[in-house]
Amino acid sequence: MKRSVFSGAGVLLAALLYLSLTVLSDAHLAGVRVDLTEDELYTLSDGSRHIAANLAEPITVQLYYSSSVAREIPAVAGEVAQKIIAHASRVTEMLREYEAASDGKLRVVELDPEPFSEVEDEAVAAGLVGLPANTVGDRLYFGLVATNALGEQEVIPFLDPFRAEFVEFEVSRFLAKLDALEKPVVGLLTSLPMFGGDALPMPNAPPPEPAWAVVDYVRERFEVRELSPDLDAIPSDVDVLWIVHPKPLPETALYAVDQFVLGGGRALVFVDPHAEVEQPPNDPNNPMASMGAPRSSDLAPLLAAWGVDFSTETVVGDRGLATRVNVGSRQRPEVLEYVVWLELGPEQLPDDEPSVSRLQRLNLSSPGSLRENGDAGEAAFTPLMTSSTDASELEAGHLRFFPDPKGLLRDYVPGGEPLTLAARVDGVLRSAFPDGPPADPEADALTDEPSDDDPDEVIDVEIDAAPEHLARSRDTSHVVIVADVDLLADANWTAESFGFLTVAADNGSLVLNQLDSLAGDPALLGIRGRTGQARTFTELERRRELAEQRHLQEEQRLQAELSATERRLTELQQQREDGSSLLLTPEQAAEIERFRAEQVATRKQLRQTRAELRADVEGLQSWLEALNILGVPLLLLAVAGALTILRRRGAAES
C-alpha cells in the first residue's frame, strides 16, 4: 500500500508548516503591501523618505506602546481598542520604513510601559499621556519621543487613532525640526498685531494678546523676525520676505522690497481689499469714521511692476463657495449665503502645483482678485487659488459699516470665469523704480533746496553707500501674492476646544507650504495637507439643507402666528380677570374658544412642517434600507421561482 501524504505525521508537519509560515511572513514580509486607499494613507510619501534620507545627525525615536494592556481591554470597549491596536501596528511599521529610508541615521526603539514599571515612569516623565484602560487603573500608553544628538526632544503624547492621517506629517515635521541646525529666516512685515501684544509692566495687568496661531505655526519651521515699515533695506540673512496687509509703505521701504525681490529674494505678499481682521484706529471725535474707513492694503506700484493687477475697490463674492450664515435671530433664524466668506476645496486649487495640490479646505473672507496686467514681460503668472465660475466682483464699499448680505446678492453679476485669488509670479521682473532709488527725505533735510527738482544731488550723497541699483531681476524672481489677509486670522482656520487650538482648515498649511516652496525645501510639500476630510453622506446633507430652506420660512410664519394667537389668548383671559364679573359673556367665551382652536390648528401645522422637514431624508433612508435588505433576496426568489416553474413544465412535458 502506497504511503499517502495524507497521514497523521503529515498533519503534524502541516500544522508546524502553517504556524511557521504565518510567523515568518508576519516578521519578514512586513513592508510588502498594496495601499488601496485613495488618500494613500498608509504609504510613506516621497517627502518623508527624502527627509529621512537626508538626516544629518542621528535621531532616536522611542515608541511607547502598552501592547500588554491593550490586549487585555475588555471586549465592551473592544472597538476602540481594536482601532488602537491596528493603529499601533501601522505606526510601528511606518517608523520602521522611516528607519529603513534613513540609512542608519534614524533608530527606532519599541518600549512597553507596563504598569508600575520603570519604563512607565520614563514615559510619563517625557510627557506621554496614558488612557485608563481597565478598572484596576492600568494605563494604555501610545506615544513617541524623538531625541536628536543635541538632546532636544519632540514628543507626541498620544497617537490618536482617529487622527491617523496626520501621523506621517507630524513625524516628518519633527524629524525635520530636530535635524535642522538652523532654521531659515522669514522676515515678517505687517501692519497687524500678528506677534501679539507686549506684556504690560503693571501688576495685575491683563495677559498680553497671544501671537496669531499662524505665526506660531510658521515658527516651528522658520525663525520669524519682525521687520519695521521704516526699514531701508531687507536684512541680508532673511530668506523669505513675508508681507501682510501693508499700509502705504514709505518709498524707501518699497524700494528695499523691490530690490530684494529683483536680487533673488523670495516674497510672500498678503494684500486685501477689505480685511475684516483689521481694527481701524478709533477717533474719539468721529467714531463713525473708523467704521467706514477702508480696511485695505496694497503694494502698488510693486504689484503692477510684477505684472499683477489688483484693486482695493473690488471684492470677490462667490455663490458657489459661499458660507451660509444666520442673519436672523436665534428665535427666527434666517439662513443666507454670505457670498464673500468663501470655503475653498480641492477644485479651486490646481492639481499640478505641489504647494497647494494636497490642501483640502481653505477659508477666506472678502478676498480680492488678481489679474495679469500684461506688463510683466517674460514673467509667468500662475494662479494658485481660484474662485468657482459663479463668482462676481463686488464693490468693497458695500462691506464697510455694516455688511449687508442681501445687498451683496442684489449686485451680484457672475462673470462666468473663475477669478484668481492667489498667484505666483516667476521670472525676470522689472523694477518699480526705473529711475533708481527714490529720493531720501533725510538727505533732503540736509540741503536747503527741495530735492525733487535736483535728483542728481541726492544721488551724489547716496552713491557711496547704496548697492548697485537693479532695474531687472538678476536671475529669476519668485513672488507669491495672496489677495486675502483674513485667512491668516485665527478665527478662520482654528477652533478652540478644552483650551487647545485645533486645526479646522488648511490655511496654516497654505502659508507654510508657500514659505517652504519659496525657501526652497520641497521635501515637506508632499506630506502636508493630507488632512483627508471625512467623507460623509453628502447627498443626505444636501437634501437636509434643501428641506430646511423650504420649510424654515414656513415654520417661521407659523411660529409667528402661534405667538400672536397665544398673546391674544392671554389678553382675553386677563380681561376676564380684570373685569368685575366672574363670568364670561357668551361673546368672550366664544372668542376664547376660537383662539384656542386656532392655537391647536397652528401647532398641528407646525408639527406637520417639522415632520415634512425630516420626511424627505428619512424616506430615502428607509427606501435604501429596504432595497439593500430585500432587493437581491427578492430577485433571487423570483429567479428561483422561475427556474422551478420551468423545470416543472419541462418535467410535465417529458
Binding site: 504565518t22 511572513s25 510588502v32 488601496l36 481591554i73 481594536q82 447627498e539 439593500n628 437581491v632 433576496p633
Partner: protein, 244 residues
C-alpha cells in the same frame, strides 16, 4: 486542474438544484443588510464607507459558512456516495479541491449579491473605493478560510448537524483568537511568543487590517496557508476514514 474544475462545476450546479442554496443566499443577504443598518448604525455614522457593513462579516461567516460546509462531506458519507466518488478516476486531492472551489465560488456569489451596498454608499457620498475594494477582497479570502475549516469538520462525521456545530465552535475559537477570551487560556503558562502567534491566527484581526485599505502580502499568505492547511486536514481525515 481540469478535473478539479469539472468537479467544481458539477458541484455548483448541484447547489442550485435544491432550495438550500437559495435559502442560504436570501438569509445571508438579508442578515448582512439588517445588521448593517440596524446594529451597525449605517446612517447614524454618517460616514461614506462600508465599515458598518464589513464589521459583521466575520460573524456572518462564522454562523453561516458551516451551513454550506457541512454539506460538503458529511452528506456524501451518510448517503454512501463518497464511495462512488472514490471509485471515479480522481485523486483525493482533486476531489477535496473541487468541492471546496465550488463552495467558495458560491460564497463569492453571495458576496456579489451585496454590491447594492457599494452602489448605495457611492450614491450617498464619495467613498474611498480602494478601501471598499480591499474590504471585499479580504472578505472573499476570509470566506474561503472559514470554508476550509468547515470542510475539515464535515469530513469528520456522518451527521451534518454535528459537522455544523463542530465547525461553528472551531470558527468561533479562531475568530476570537486575538481576544482575551481565548488568549487567557494560554497566557498563564505559554511563552509570550506562542501567545502572540495564536493571536496572529485570528481571521477577524487580519480581515480588519485588510479592510482598512491596505492589502499586505503577509495577510494574503496567511489566508492562503490557512486554507491550504485546513484542506490538507480535510483530505487526511478522508484518507483515514477511507482506510477503515
Amino acid at each position: 486542474m481540469n478535473v478539479v474544475l469539472q468537479i467544481a462545476r458539477r458541484e455548483l450546479r448541484g447547489y442550485f438544484a435544491t432550495p438550500v442554496a437559495w435559502v442560504f443566499l436570501v438569509i445571508f443577504l438579508a442578515l448582512a443588510g439588517i445588521l448593517t443598518f440596524n446594529q451597525g448604525g449605517f446612517f447614524e455614522l454618517n460616514s461614506a464607507d462600508l465599515s458598518a457593513f464589513f464589521k459583521y462579516h466575520p460573524w456572518l461567516y462564522m454562523l453561516l459558512v458551516p451551513a454550506i460546509s457541512m454539506r460538503l462531506w458529511a452528506e456524501e458519507r451518510s448517503s454512501g456516495s463518497i464511495e462512488l466518488l472514490m471509485t471515479l478516476p480522481v485523486t483525493l486531492g482533486q476531489a477535496v479541491l473541487g468541492k471546496f472551489l465550488a463552495a467558495w465560488v458560491f460564497l463569492l456569489a453571495a458576496l456579489v449579491g451585496t454590491l447594492p451596498m457599494w452602489l448605495t454608499v457611492s450614491y450617498l457620498g464619495e467613498p474611498d473605493h480602494g478601501v471598499i475594494l480591499a474590504g471585499y477582497v479580504g472578505s472573499a479570502l476570509m470566506a474561503g478560510a472559514y470554508l476550509a475549516v468547515g470542510a475539515a469538520f464535515s469530513a469528520l462525521t456522518r451527521n451534518q448537524v454535528v459537522a455544523f456545530v463542530l465547525s461553528l465552535m472551531a470558527s468561533l475559537l479562531i475568530t476570537l483568537a486575538g481576544w482575551p477570551v481565548v488568549l487567557d487560556a494560554f497566557s498563564g503558562w505559554a511563552p509570550q511568543a506562542l501567545v502572540e502567534t495564536i493571536a496572529s491566527l485570528s481571521f477577524m484581526t487580519r480581515f480588519e487590517a485588510v479592510a482598512q485599505g491596505v492589502f499586505e502580502l503577509r495577510d494574503l499568505v496567511f489566508f492562503l496557508t490557512s486554507m491550504a492547511f485546513w484542506l490538507f486536514l480535510n483530505a487526511t481525515i478522508l484518507q483515514a476514514r477511507k482506510a477503515n
